[in-house]
């Protein structure tokens, strides 16, 4: 599935659990959060770098003990209209997670800037969507709005701060 980082389609060096037989011994693996506690030690011993795939109703606070061991957290978007992932990302960042945050599923180009502002680094979309919405659309959509009113969210130039700077 295509991966978008900084408005560009880039290769994805992460593998989803379970990895197929051709996977190198020490790879970057995204493991379902439910099974992580059981598998983590063995996977780490085998030299794998760990990522977790959570679900829409995972309590972000339950990931806090794992923050030091997780290089990536993948948050699902079952459909574009389901915005739970935006709050999950915001909570994870507020709780102190500094690793890669990935939105995975049905997220459209027009939501890209919102996702970035909530703390997502990468977006992983289905092939069919990438055909309809190629790289150029993502790049353009990211910069459609250059200003934001909300403080405490990333990416765009903050209007409130800009106002004080101006006056």
């Amino acid at each position: 599935m295509p991966l978008i980082r900084d408005g560009r389609f880039v290769p994805d060096d992460w593998l989803r659990w379970p990895p197929d037989e051709t996977a190198p011994a020490s790879s970057k693996l995204i493991v379902p959060f439910d099974g992580l506690a059981e598998a983590a030690d063995a996977l780490a011993a085998a030299g794998h770098t760990l990522g977790a795939e959570i679900s829409n109703d995972t309590d972000p606070a339950s990931l806090v003990p794992w923050f030091g061991r997780l290089t990536l957290i993948s948050v699902p978007f079952p459909k574009a209209a389901d915005g739970r992932g935006f709050s999950i990302a915001t909570r994870l960042r507020r709780l102190g997670y500094r690793g890669e945050l990935r939105a995975s599923g049905h997220l459209i180009a027009d939501q890209y800037a919102l996702a970035r502002s909530c703390g997502f680094d990468t977006v992983e979309i289905p092939d069919a969507l990438a055909i309809r919405q190629p790289e150029a659309h993502w790049l353009e959509a990211e910069h459609a709005m250059s200003l934001a009113y909300q403080r405490g969210y990333g990416a765009l130039r903050n209007i409130i701060s800009a106002r004080w700077a101006a006056g």
């Binding site: 574009a80 209209a81 389901d82 915005g83 709050s87 919102l114 009113y149 209007i159 004080w164």
Partner: protein, 551 residues
């Protein structure tokens, strides 16, 4: 009034360009209909029964005369010469063409207006008491709060794809004219013991299929913490609100299913996690916005006007209009004037381009160029000198706008109903028209007194029938329209949800039933009891029987 600065201006212009691009990508197929729909709705564009409908925000119901003229211009150039003012301080255009919509949005941006988030599962236009800043019973003007919330909620990165729509209303007065207890969040300006300004916070109210009165979640939130507090409520709702069933997706269901206490705890826990913003910038921003709403320089005049008294004595029609359509202003010698958009036989809330221009002219001449839109679908001129009421009334009469029925029985609230709406199951407008004709006699209307009749053309309750003294819900029963009546609803601080009476009435019988009920009330009332007081004294069963007396 608030004025856009360069950043506000740039924001709405970029939004228009963004939407133009989205429309183009929909046409090429890059966006499919499911993906385009929420984007279209967040720019106020609905697909209705016969055409697109564009809903334009009138934030907190405040308009300048210049803005009103632009609304008239849009009605004339891009629509069929009229617009419809809604119960949530919006105006709807019923016949725009899709290709014209970006141009309309640009025309709105020219006068610092937009259609952002007037629809969709996001935070909607924030509404307020139509008498904000001028009401005699006000603690503080709620509009700076609304403007702060308008900006904060615009294109919010986290809260633009909520389980369902989200409505916030704010009042600064003791009397609730903003229906705060029936909003997802309702705010009432309050002061703590130290005189600090803040808010009493209500959440989980709503109408629709499952009407609920909100619960008070906090007695007092200091003004400085408001955005953090609202953010906490939104985050709990976005994470936990139901997404499996759109009819159970509003926050009222979450509050109800979780229980008030548990919801409160979840929200307070979330609130505690949100980092404190730097206090100085927040205060600075609040002060900046408040400065736009500082009261105009009222002339120091006597409260009583000899000219007014004399004109009222000389012209009984004018006297009636003053009695019925004016309200007490906080400044001596001034009045709040209501311009009813409920003429005999008219569609409630509709105004033609010419009428909008006449209203703009009246505002320039008599109301410091300012107008308001009320939840009753009327226009308010907030700053009229008492000595000029007679001249205003004459101007309004020329334009056919001097209808003396504010808050009386013919001041009917109605949704567009089956004449326009895809969701509707019955017509609303013809019932409203029939009521205005049946009770047209001005003396009878005044005798009946203050009463709210509200009509919805389907269970979604856009006509707020649950909170009418008499609520009318239009349904479709075996191929024919049937109108179910609820009694005893109340949208104010004494909030109540109307109780359903018996089986529905056919279209040609519903106004007869209401007439029977009204005559029963007139016969039963003691002294100058209002309809609601009589209803409460006699009880639902007695009033309901009167409705069905001839059946």
């Amino acid at each position: 009034m608030y004025r856009y600065d360069e950043f506000d201006e740039q924001f709405v212009r970029e939004r228009v360009t963004q939407f133009r691009g989205q429309v183009e990508r929909r046409l090429t197929g890059a966006l499919n209909e499911d993906e385009f729909r929420p984007l279209r709705l967040m720019n106020g564009l609905y697909l209705q029964l016969h055409a697109y409908m564009l809903r334009v925000a009138i934030p907190y119901g405040t308009l300048s005369s210049k803005q009103m003229r632009q609304l008239a211009h849009i009605a004339d150039v891009y629509d069929r010469g009229y617009g419809h003012f809604t119960t949530r301080q919006n105006i709807q255009y019923n016949w725009p063409k899709l290709k014209d919509v970006p141009d309309i949005l640009n025309a709105l941006a020219d006068v610092e207006m937009h259609a952002i988030q007037t629809s969709g599962n996001c935070i909607r236009n924030v509404t307020a008491d139509p008498y904000s800043g001028v009401a005699a019973d006000e603690i503080a003007d709620p509009r700076p709060t609304c403007e702060l919330l308008r900006q904060w909620s615009s294109n919010h990165p986290e809260f633009s794809f909520l389980p369902r729509k989200f409505k916030i209303a704010v009042t600064g007065a003791r009397a609730d004219r903003a229906v705060i207890k029936f909003h997802d969040i309702g705010l009432r300006l309050a002061q703590d013991e130290g005189g600090r300004l803040g808010y009493e916070v209500w959440a989980g109210g709503g109408l629709g299929r499952t009407p609920m009165i909100g619960i008070k979640v906090r007695d007092f939130v200091p003004a400085i913490d408001l955005l953090r507090y609202v953010e906490a409520i939104m985050r709990v709702y976005n994470a936990e609100g139901r997404r499996d069933n759109k009819y159970k997706a509003r926050i009222k269901i979450l509050v109800h299913e979780k229980g008030g206490e548990e919801f409160r705890q979840a929200m307070e826990a979330e609130f505690a996690l949100i980092p404190h913003d730097e206090t100085a910038p927040v205060e600075k921003e609040l002060r900046r916005i408040e400065a736009f709403f500082s009261p105009p320089a009222y002339e120091a005049v006597a409260d009583e006007s000899d000219l007014l008294t004399k004109s009222m004595r000389a012209d009984p029609d004018f006297a009636r209009w003053v009695r019925v359509n004016t309200r007490q202003h906080k400044a001596p010698g001034y009045a709040i004037a209501i311009v009813s958009l409920k003429p005999k036989g008219g569609a409630p809330g509709d105004a033609t381009g010419d009428e909008m221009r006449a209203l703009a002219d009246a505002a320039d001449q008599f109301s410091l160029s300012e107008l308001r839109v009320s939840a009753e679908q009327n226009i308010v001129l907030p700053n009229v000198r008492k000595s000029e009421l007679f001249a205003l009334w004459q101007e309004l009469r020329q334009a056919g706008l001097a209808i003396a029925n504010a808050e009386l029985i013919t001041d009917v609230v109605a949704c567009p109903g089956l004449d326009y709406c895809t969701l509707a199951t019955a017509r609303s407008i013809p019932i409203a028209q029939e009521i205005t004709e049946r009770f047209a006699e001005p003396a009878l209307q005044e005798q009946i007194g203050s009463i709210r009749i509200k009509i919805s053309g389907c269970i979604n309750a856009c006509g707020h029938h649950h909170v009418g003294d008499i609520g009318i819900l239009g349904l479709e029963k075996t191929g024919a329209e049937a109108y179910q009546i609820t009694l005893g609803g109340d949208p104010t601080e004494s909030a109540a949800i109307g109780e359903r009476s018996g089986p529905g009435f056919p279209a040609d019988g519903v106004v007869d039933a209401i007439e029977r009920l009204i005559h029963f009330y007139l016969g039963q009332r003691q002294d100058d009891e209002s309809f609601k007081q009589t209803y409460l004294r006699l009880g639902h069963a007695v009033m309901k029987d009167a409705l069905y007396a001839a059946h």
